[in-house]
Structures are given as C-alpha cells and as structure tokens.
C-alpha cells in the first residue's frame, strides 16, 4: 500500500475511533462530508483529491471496520458515475452532491425496465437511506439514470443489520426526463460495468474491515476471559481457529489489493468487473466466517445485544446478499475459465 493510502487509513481510523461505535448516521455523515472523504476519488480537475478507487476503498474498509452507518458506498457510486459519464449537464450538480444534496444508489442490481416510449417501471431494492436522498442512481443494460427519488414510492426494508438503513423504491410508468440520463447504449454498458465494479470492491472493502475487527475482538476476548484457571486464548483448538481466520482474511485482503490494482486501469471493462466479483466473493466469505466464529468463540456474551459481536454477524450476512448472489457468482467465474 502506498504511503498516502496508509496515511489515509490511519487518519480515517482515528476519526472513526474518536466517534466511537454506534455513531448515528447523520453525525457520521457530517464528518464524511466535512472531511472530504467524498472527494477522495474525484479527479483533481473537478476539485477532488484524485486518489482513485483505492482511496475510496480504504475509507470504506475503515467504515466497515467501525460498523459505520455512513452511506458512503451509495453516495460514492453516484459521484463516481457522474464523473465517469463525463461532460453532461448532470456534472454541474457534482459540487452540490459532494456537499449538501444527497444522492444514493442500490447495492443490488436494479430490477427495472424502460419501455420503448421512455417510461421507467420496476423496483430498485436495497437502496441505502433513500429517504434522505434527492436522487437515486439506477441502471439497465442500456441506460444509466439519476432519478429524483420523488418519482418513486419508498418502502422500508428493515434488515437485521441495523447499521444500514435500506429501502426499496418502486417506479410505476415514470416518464423519464432526458436530463436524468447519464449514459445510454454502449456508453451505458461501460458505465454499468464501472458502477458494479466499484460496488463490489466497496463491499469487499467493507467485508475486510469488518472481518478484521471481528477477529481482533475475538482474540481480545479470548485473551481476557479465563476459564479453568487460564485464559481461553491458551487453548490450542481456539488458537488454531483464530489462525485459520487470520489466514483467510489475509488471503481476501491480498486478493482485494491485487485485483483492485489490476482493475484500476480498466474500470468499466468486463475484466475489471470480474476481478471485483472475485474480491467480493472471497472477502464476504471471510467476513461471514469470522463473524460466525466470533459469536461462537465469545460464548454466551456473543449472543447478547449489549455486546457488539452480533453486529458483525448481521452485517456480514447482509453483505453476502448484496452485489450479486454468491452461487451465480461462482458459476460465472468458472464460465470465464472455460471461454
């Protein structure tokens, strides 16, 4: 990791540590905006920091680590799409999106259609804090739109992971304003690929951050907790399970860094999307494993709401169902080896 990114990790972590766990969404969001984290991936030509997707992911990894309620991935997807779409009237809204007005995006592929006469219908699931957003990024294979949330009907999707407030938004025969359009045709295809690539990398980053924290918490607990006259951390069976978790997380982290590095030059190309999917698959699997083991190894205390252990479990399990479905991921990865 470059020195710059290491510094970014440290500074992000220190902010989040000082806020402490369970910080309310709006409190943390003010920090995200004020500290310019939304600018991390924006090119310098647009007054951003120009640090690219790696920096965005570094921030999300720390947000994941702290189980943060910040809708950073959703907002980042919109900002990145706006920038990537290039010159368009919509780009003028970028400064506002970076500071005040909010836009969001779904964390699973939208289930929408656009009719021949340009009407939008369908449901977009798993949209983060859309109730607080002015606009929502949606896409089909041939269109990418930034649609006012007022055009759709909201329905809360309360998940067990209460650190992320998700909603479904349904559009019924909505007339598409041409001003909403970010890309169409081949350009849309590339942009969709870019959006999904970044989304999957962000989910992977979240998972790695969370998995690392879950393991740390577990090791700390085992070290402090005594049974039969000695710390649990002295029992070899538990040590070996922690070591396996450590190895799995390290592998997910290495794959993440490597795939992101490979993908960075070609965000928007199918190869990059595939790399992101691999990273996400392994990272979310490691997170689930780490979180599940965390609850088991924390014993009874891990089953109480007052200990944060369960928050990792719930977030990890939700992550597996964001992005794409795991099973289809696996099949598609294999398919690429055959072609």
């Amino acid at each position: 990791m470059s020195e710059l990114l290491t510094e970014l990790t440290d500074s992000t972590r220190s902010v989040l540590d000082s806020l402490g766990p369970g910080t309310a969404e709006e409190t943390i969001w003010t920090q995200v905006v004020d500290l310019g984290w939304l600018l991390a991936g924006v090119p310098e030509s647009l007054d951003g920091l120009g640090l690219g997707p790696a920096a965005v992911c570094v921030i999300q990894q720390e947000l994941g680590r702290s189980l943060s309620a910040a809708r950073y991935p959703a907002a980042t997807l919109v900002i990145d799409a706006l920038v990537a779409a290039g010159e368009s009237p919509l780009l003028e809204r970028l400064p506002l999106l970076l500071t005040e007005a909010l836009a969001t995006a779904p964390l699973v592929p939208p289930d929408i259609e656009i009719s021949d006469d340009g009407r939008l219908s369908g449901t977009v699931r798993a949209v983060w804090s859309v109730d607080r957003a002015s606009d929502i990024l949606v896409w089909t294979n041939s269109d990418v739109l930034l649609v006012p949330t007022s055009a759709g009907a909201l329905k809360a999707r309360p998940t067990w992971d209460e650190t992320r407030r998700l909603f479904d938004i349904t559009f019924t025969d909505v007339n598409i304003d041409s001003g909403w359009r970010l890309a169409q045709g081949a350009a849309a295809e590339t942009l969709v690929c870019r959006i999904e690539t970044l989304r999957d990398f962000l989910l992977a980053a979240d998972a790695i951050g969370g998995a690392t924290a879950a393991l740390e918490s577990t090791v700390n607990y085992l070290t402090e907790r005594k049974q039969f006259g000695r710390p649990l951390a002295l029992f070899q069976a538990l040590k070996h399970r922690c070591a396996d978790l450590k190895a799995h997380i390290a592998a997910a982290e290495a794959l993440f860094a490597d795939t992101l590095n490979q993908a960075e030059s070609g965000f928007g190309q199918p190869q990059a999307a595939l790399l992101a999917r691999e990273a996400k698959l392994l990272a979310t699997a490691a997170y689930t494993e780490a979180a599940e083991e965390a609850v088991q190894l924390h014993g009874g205390i891990g089953m109480t709401a007052e200990h944060p252990c369960h928050l990792y479990l719930k977030r990890a399990q939700l992550n597996e169902h964001l992005g794409r479905r795991r099973v289809s991921d696996e099949l598609e990865l294999a398919t690429c080896q055959f072609s």
């Binding site: 699973v108 699931r125 798993a126 999707r157 309360p158 998940t159 067990w160 992971d161 209460e162 005594k226 049974q227 039969f228 006259g229 000695r230 710390p231 002295l234 029992f235 069976a237 538990l238 609850v295 088991q296 014993g299 009874g300 891990g302 089953m303 109480t304 709401a305 007052e306 369960h310 479990l313 719930k314 399990q317 939700l318 169902h321 964001l322 479905r325 795991r326 099973v327 696996e330 099949l331």
Partner: protein
C-alpha cells in the same frame, strides 16, 4: 402397546394442538406467549402427556423411556408448541425433588408443578459458564436461614418463574465442587431481582438473577451442605436424550420447509442449491438416528460417557448447516427483519432468527468445544490436560 400409545397421542394431538398457534405466536409479546404456554401446559397435564417420566403414582406418570420417546416423536410430528416455560419445572425441578428431595419438600412442591408453578435454573454465573465448579454466589448459614449473595445468568424465562433451582457456595475449602450447596429458592423472596437479557434476536428469553441478602429457609436446602454438585449432576441428566429426540425429529419434519421456500422463491431448480439441500438431508436423518440410538442405549443401560456429547455436537452442527441453507435460499429477503415465532422448533422459516438461535445449541448446555473435549478425553481416551497446568503471566 407402544403402537397403541402412538395412535392415542397422535389422535389427541390432532384434536388439541391449538390451530394456527404459529401465526398467533409470531410477533406476539412474551406475555401472550406465556399465556399460551400455560393453556397448552394444562391441556397436556390433563391428558397425562406432560409427566410421562414421573412415577406411576402421579397422573400421567410411570411411562417407560420408550413410551416417553413416542410422545416426543408425536409432539414433533404434530408440530405442537414446545413447552419451554415448564421445562425446568417438569424435568429438572421434579427430578431433583423426586431423587434428592425430602418427603416434606416433595409434598410441598411437586403438586404445585402440576398446578403450573414455573421454575427456573440458577446454575450459570457470568464467570462460570462451562466451568460450573468455579461459581461464586455465596450462601451463608445464619440460624434457620441461608443468606445468599451473588448473581446468576442465562436463566431461561426467570422473569416468569415462581421458584428457582439455585446452586451457591457454602464453603471454599477443598475441591471447588465440594463447597457447593443446592437450594430451592422462592423467586418472590426479598432481595431477588431479575433482569431479562436482551438477545441478538431482539428476544429476551433469558435473564440475569441478582441475589442481594436473599434468605432461604434451611428446609429448602436439597441434600446436605456441600452435596450440591452431586444433586445438580443428577438433575442435569434427567431429560438427557428426550430433548434431542424431540429436536432432531422437529428438524426432520422441517426439511419440507426448505423445499417450500425454494419453490416459493423460484429457486427450486437451482442445481447448486439443490445439491446443498441433498447434502443436508442425510445429515438431518443421521442426527435423528443418533438421538434415537442414544435413547435406546439409555433404555438398555449401554450408555457410555461421551455418547450424549456426540449427539449434542452433531445436532448443533447440523442445525447450523440447516439454517445456513435456509438463509442461502432466502437471499436478500431473508435478511429482512421480521417478527419471529415463539415456542417453535429452531427452524421457523425466519432464517435470520433461526440462524442466531442456532447458537443456543452450540454454546449453551456445554459448548461444542466442551463436547469435543469430552469426546476426545472420555471416549477416545486421549490424555486430559493435567489439572496443575495453571497459567501464570509471563510463563
């Protein structure tokens, strides 16, 4: 004879399991659940199916283990509510009284159980989970009473309990087990306070019990001072096997739920999910076979140490696989927070909650790790870690 009992129980259950109880118990509060449990308990008591393990002179009593097994199997088959609220009363409390209680204690407490007294267990402590011998709640004799101070935890539905099976330390001399004494505590005594434990599912099925100068009359001590450990061991074994027969049978009957969800979500033809389902099926059947086999061994007196650990460990692992598959097939929607069902098996179809509850079986009642120790040391005769391996910082 046993087939006759089966027919009898089955037909009784058909007529008596409250219709739509799952719907009624989904999203209800705990008070409503307690009320429903009471109704169901009295029905079972009246039919004689609540106390098959009690001696013959009691109503419903005098059934063999094989007959008890039939009743449990039929209850599972009929998907009747589980009798969670009365479990400690009917099994642990009753067996303690019958095996170790004085005639006076039996006289005073057993009839109450049949009239609906709820009992809870006061064994676990915050720093003595699987390591019961290290418990720290103290009982000090002062004349005709013991004065109790300390804290208990993981007590199932203690907030509704009338009485408590309490272990407390009367002496610190000798082996840690030696100074433990067994009491029957009135939960309405001065100095008892109960705080429900908020669980990760949002439920509060368990509670902490705080004991602040609680007085227990000497006549409510079971056995002699210092014999609490032995009494507790007798108590803990009382329902061993039967619960796992019920749970594994319920799991087997719930296999269909996986199929239903897959069909409902349109993934019934997904070969990868189907293969995962296919892998689960023999495991579930094996868990049933293990539980059955274990009870057979108890009946025939062939049980050896470790048998019970294998059943519990395998059940806990299989249950985890079961609910994991449930989550996998239910996708994003399975992550939605929904009202949960009280009093059912571990596989209610609310997979996220089921998944969390599955930890009840891998952690409580001797964690998977403890079971593995027992299997390795007591069955496979692998050496135990020497007792004098004590940890010293910097060693």
């Amino acid at each position: 004879m046993s087939e006759q009992l089966r027919t009898e129980v089955r037909s009784w259950l058909e007529n008596n399991v409250p219709a739509g109880w799952r719907e009624a118990m989904t999203g209800c509060d705990q008070d409503a659940f307690v009320a429903a449990q009471r109704d169901w308990f009295f029905k079972l008591v009246e039919a004689g199916y609540a106390t098959p393990h009690w001696p013959e002179r009691w109503p419903g009593g005098g059934r063999s283990l094989a007959e008890q097994k039939i009743i449990y199997e039929e209850v599972a088959r009929a998907d009747a509510p589980r009798l969670i609220l009365y479990f400690v009363a009917l099994y642990h409390a009753a067996c303690t009284l019958m095996e170790c209680g004085s005639a006076d204690q039996q006289q005073r407490f057993l009839p109450g159980i049949l009239k609906g007294d709820v009992w809870c267990q006061g064994f676990s402590e915050p720093n003595a989970g699987s390591d019961l011998a290290s418990l720290r709640t103290r009982a000090e004799r002062r004349g005709d009473v013991y004065v109790i101070n300390g804290q208990k935890t993981w007590s199932t539905m203690a907030q509704y309990a009338d009485r408590c099976l309490l272990l407390a330390r009367t002496s610190s001399d000798g082996r840690p087990q030696a100074g433990i004494t067994y009491f029957l505590m009135d939960m309405r005594s001065k100095g008892v306070s109960v705080r429900p434990i908020s669980q990760i599912t949002g439920d509060d099925e368990f509670a902490e019990i705080f004991l602040d100068d609680v007085e227990i009359p000497v006549e409510d001590r079971v056995g002699e001072e210092g014999q609490g450990w032995a009494v507790a061991q007798a108590t803990l074994a009382s329902e061993r096997g039967l619960t796992l027969v019920e749970l594994t049978q319920r799991m087997r009957h719930s296999l269909g739920r996986i199929g239903e969800v897959m069909r409902a979500r349109g993934c019934a033809d997904d070969p990868v999910l189907r293969a995962a389902f296919g892998r689960l099926i023999p495991q579930v059947h094996a868990a049933c076979a293990l539980a059955d086999g274990y009870l057979q061994k108890r009946i025939s007196g062939e049980e050896v140490v470790g048998d019970a650990s294998i059943v519990k460990l395998y059940y806990a692992r299989t249950l985890r696989e079961f609910v994991r598959l449930g989550q996998q097939i239910s996708g994003l929607d399975g992550q939605t927070m929904e009202e949960f069902t009280r009093g059912g098996s571990q596989e209610t179809g609310n997979w996220a909650v089921d998944f969390m509850n599955s930890y009840n079986w891998s952690i409580a009642g001797g964690s998977d790790e403890i079971q593995r120790n027992i299997i390795a040391e007591r069955m496979l005769q692998m050496p135990r870690e020497p007792r004098d391996w004590r940890w010293q910082k910097g060693a």
